[in-house]
């Protein structure tokens, strides 16, 4: 496991808000996770082998999309976006005035459980809802209409998506290293400030700011490419996760880097809770001294993890080009293949947060039932007790763990398929495509092992 630990550091790792549930982890440690991990890794490896044997077109065929309906022309997206803004405003107000306990205040519950876990996953699994649910486009349209003014500045094209990458890292740093990211008032201040500055960006630079510099929209649009539902040829279409990636041009470099950073950040989110990482910091995982003492260490870990993943990914691509005897610029292949990382990042996001979502989701139900804490029962739940009983029986723990592992494995299988289809799309012959992909495929098989190891490892937070 030591070698693996080193490998993980070389590859890459966010701190979850939910706690360690000793009983859940206790049962996970009793599961034959070694066998499950091997089975998961074998599944991903087998996908590679099957792709090598199948005819060239097969890889592409799995991503074929089906047209299901005309694009509805409801024109309501500004209205729903305004509703989203109102909701955010209400949440910020409750963040400042509501209960100080993050499990009783709607602000952290909505941001970290409903949005960060639920809506981000939904975006990747189903498709782009952010077009309707983001809190900026509606108000921006309203402001433009009311004042009749246009944005005074042109967005500097040479900045590309880099402002968004930097802001995303800032978001990740808040989530992973801030001592109290779930403190309602603190979170309300951060969220309110960020909403305002992003709106200022839109006022100054126009909508370009949202798709270049606003990190959350970039994140959502990146995951939106993964969804089952999307638009093609003017119609709503349906296809396997990733089909929209193939239907679009390769992303620009900044956006490509963000896609890799999503996985790097997600992986550190898992790694920083493990006994292994705490051991590295010289911290006894059984008496974790709190997030306030690991701020610097986790900041360094976050940066190193992302750098290591970027480097490893680039190295695999560079090596692949050499093996295949192709000398395309690294930048070009990096942008071509970066979207193949998205399903891995999404699979890990879902797996990592599944357990906290199962607990914190109940607090969300509780708060919807009684939003202001006045004893109302809007959902008819009189005495609603949050339970974590599913962490206490071997059967449910096994089902949860296998669901998490399934998300990781499916993510990697889709990634392998997607990388292959992207290679074929770039117009090289099958033999070269396979050779060129070999290092990346090996990397993805190894990352499956790492992702599953993270799920099986004892955690101290």
């Amino acid at each position: 496991m030591r070698a693996l630990g080193l490998l993980t550091l070389l590859l890459v790792p966010l701190a979850t808000l939910a706690s360690a549930h000793a009983s859940e982890q206790g049962f996970v440690l009793l599961l034959p996770t070694d066998i499950y991990i091997m089975a998961g890794v074998a599944t991903v490896a087998l996908t590679v082998v099957v792709l090598a044997l199948l005819p060239a077109k097969a890889g592409h065929a799995v991503f074929r999309s089906l047209s299901v309906a005309p694009v509805p022309s409801l024109g309501l997206r500004h209205v729903t976006s305004l509703l989203s803004t109102l909701l955010l405003g209400a949440l910020v107000w409750r963040g400042f005035t509501g209960p100080g306990d993050p499990l009783s205040n709607p602000m952290p519950l909505f941001v970290w459980t409903v949005w960060w876990v639920g809506l981000v996953s939904l975006q990747g699994l189903v498709g782009n809802h952010w077009r309707w649910t983001n809190p900026w486009t509606g108000i921006a349209a309203l402001l433009a209409k009311a004042t009749g003014l246009r944005a005074p500045f042109r967005y500097p094209r040479k900045l590309g998506h880099w402002p968004g990458v930097v802001i995303f890292l800032g978001f990740a740093a808040f989530l992973l290293t801030d001592p109290a990211p779930a403190d309602p008032a603190r979170l309300a201040a951060f969220a309110g400030f960020y909403w305002y500055t992003a709106l200022l960006g839109v006022v100054l630079f126009g909508p370009a700011w949202l798709v270049r510099g606003e990190a959350l929209t970039l994140l959502m649009r990146a995951y939106g490419r993964m969804g089952l539902l999307g638009r093609a040829r003017g119609r709503v279409s349906f296809g396997l996760w990733g089909w929209q990636v193939l239907a679009r041009p390769a992303p620009a470099l900044g956006l490509a880097v963000l896609m890799v950073v999503l996985l790097g950040t997600g992986s550190f989110d898992g790694l920083n809770e493990t006994f292994w990482w705490l051991g590295l910091l010289g911290i006894n995982p059984l008496e974790f001294p709190g997030r306030s003492v690991v701020v610097t260490q986790n900041l360094i870990g976050l940066v190193l993890s992302n750098l290591a993943l970027l480097l490893a990914f680039a190295l695999c691509l560079w090596l692949g080009e050499r093996l295949a005897g192709m000398r395309r610029p690294l930048r070009e292949v990096f942008c071509l293949y970066a979207p193949s990382i998205l399903p891995i990042a999404l699979g890990y996001h879902i797996a990592h947060y599944l357990t906290s979502f199962m607990v914190d989701g109940q607090y969300v139900i509780k708060i919807v039932n009684d939003p202001l804490g006045h004893g109302t029962a809007l959902l008819g739940l009189e005495d609603f007790y949050v339970t974590t009983g599913f962490f206490n029986t071997p059967g449910t723990v096994k089902a949860i763990w296998l669901s998490q592992a399934g998300a990781v494995v499916i993510g990697h299988v889709v990634a392998i398929l997607l990388a292959h289809a992207l290679a074929m799309r770039s117009g090289v012959d099958t033999r070269r495509a396979l050779l060129g992909q070999a290092p990346l495929a090996a990397f993805m098989v190894a990352y499956t092992f790492f992702g599953l190891w993270l799920l099986a490892s004892p955690r101290g937070l």
Binding site: E287, G389, T393
Partner: protein, 428 residues
């Protein structure tokens, strides 16, 4: 920032009306409600482990606290004033703990702080409570209060400390299980406390500790340590904690098979874990310290019955809404009892507001006997005003058919040790 658990909810009012209709004796209660709703509430700052390593405990501490506050408010509050619970999350982080205490004192203007469980958070927060002269009622089991390392404003009147718990086990162990003991404990402060306190106590009973096996905290496999257990061991004392504890029990069972020495442990290892879980069969016939018996016993008191119903816990110590959701029953009564002591202290001192905080400390320090009652469902206790620590009965249970059955109740005398501090000499 408040969570008002108000006695004057519709249901509460209906109940009161029903009570009023039942007879003239209920009338003063009604009168208290009327007065209470017009008075300023008593603000109790609840330092809760909502997130971080203590969250699983925090959830049950929260549920017990809510139940106790509801009960006290329905009974007319404190001096006729309702309790307003102000919960703040400390992230189970000592630095944030100190910030939360400061918030209670300066921002929320709380009358008292209450409810901290994890020792390192208590140790990190207590100095700030002392500086701000905020009465700080902890529910942590740690020996840090009675050891003298804290201050006059920090009290632990609702739960006993680990030193008294451990030493009170020695007489039963040596008389019934054996005198030759091997200890297995995690190699950090928690384990060291057990090692030191129990070694001394068993020797005082004429027994001996043959071997002390310290396990590194990050260990997840234990079989390699078991050969260190001497053959002549009569009792194996274990206090493993953390995610690997189930593995520990399973491997211990595999190592010994049916012929093991007597095995004694602290329920802390398996708090909130179902004893009847598959893989834990080996625990059958072994003994555990319990702070409060998780399973309703044959001679269950009416107070334990009342406490379970109020918190929403069934006869197996699990949530009434989910039988697999096992509570932290051995510890959480401490929140309930502490809140009743705050009430008793405020009433005894005629507490009016934050200017009377010192009077409240003195009133609690003057407390001694606390008889078993609805306010003290775990059992009778004796408070030591000098050391700010309460002492009470401890329970030893045996696993029988997957349930913990109490086999021994210690006397309070078994739990006493000489004073290590006199906080009353410190200025208020």
């Amino acid at each position: 920032m408040t969570k008002l658990i108000n006695g004057t909810t519709r249901r509460g009012a209906l109940k009161t009306l029903a009570g009023a209709a039942a007879g003239a004796t209920a009338l003063p209660l009604w009168a208290r409600y009327a007065q209470a709703s017009s008075s300023e509430p008593i603000k109790i700052g609840f330092q809760q482990h909502s997130t971080g390593i203590g969250a699983a405990y925090g959830r049950w501490y929260g549920r017990t606290t809510d139940a106790a506050v509801k009960l006290i408010n329905e009974g007319g509050g404190i001096n006729g004033r309702m309790i307003e619970l102000i919960a703040e999350d400390d992230g189970t982080d000592p630095k944030r703990g100190a910030e939360v205490v400061e918030k209670f004192a300066t921002q929320h203007n709380c009358d008292v702080g209450f409810g901290t469980l994890f020792s390192h958070v208590v140790i990190g927060s207590s100095p700030r409570a002392g500086e701000l002269k905020l009465p700080y009622f902890v529910v942590s089991e740690g020996h840090h209060v009675a050891s003298g390392m804290l201050n006059r404003y920090t009290l632990q009147p609702g739960i006993t400390d680990v030193k008294s718990q451990v030493q009170a086990m020695a007489p039963y162990v040596s008389e019934n299980l054996g005198k030759k003991v091997t200890m297995i404990f995690p190699d950090f402060a928690f384990g060291h406390d057990h090692r030191d306190f129990f070694s001394a106590a068993i020797e005082a009973q004429g027994g001996e500790v043959l071997e002390k096996i310290a396990i590194p905290p990050t260990e997840t496999s234990f079989t390699k340590y078991f050969p260190q257990i001497p053959r002549e061991t009569e009792v194996l004392y274990h206090v493993m904690v953390g995610p690997a504890v189930l593995t520990f029990v399973k491997e211990l069972g595999e190592f010994f098979g049916p012929s093991s020495p007597a095995i004694f442990g602290f329920i802390d290892s398996l708090e909130a874990v179902d004893i009847a879980s598959p893989g834990l069969e080996f625990l059958e016939g072994t003994y555990f310290w319990e702070g409060n018996p998780r399973y309703a016993q044959a001679d269950q008191t009416e107070h334990d019955k009342f406490f379970r119903a109020a918190v929403g816990v069934d006869d197996n110590g699990a949530s009434v809404s989910d039988p697999t959701d096992v509570s932290t029953y051995a510890h959480m009564f401490g929140c309930w009892e502490t809140l009743h002591i705050i009430k008793a202290g405020m009433e005894a001192s005629g507490y009016q507001g934050t200017g009377d905080r010192a009077k409240l400390i003195e009133a609690v320090e003057a407390m001694t006997d606390m008889p078993e009652s609805q306010a003290h469902p775990q059992g009778a206790k004796v408070f030591n005003g000098k050391t700010h620590q309460v002492f009470g009965h401890q329970y030893i249970s045996r696993v029988e058919e997957g349930k913990l059955v109490r086999v021994h109740t210690t006397s309070i005398e078994d739990t006493l040790y000489p004073d290590e501090v006199d906080y009353t000499t410190q200025p208020l």
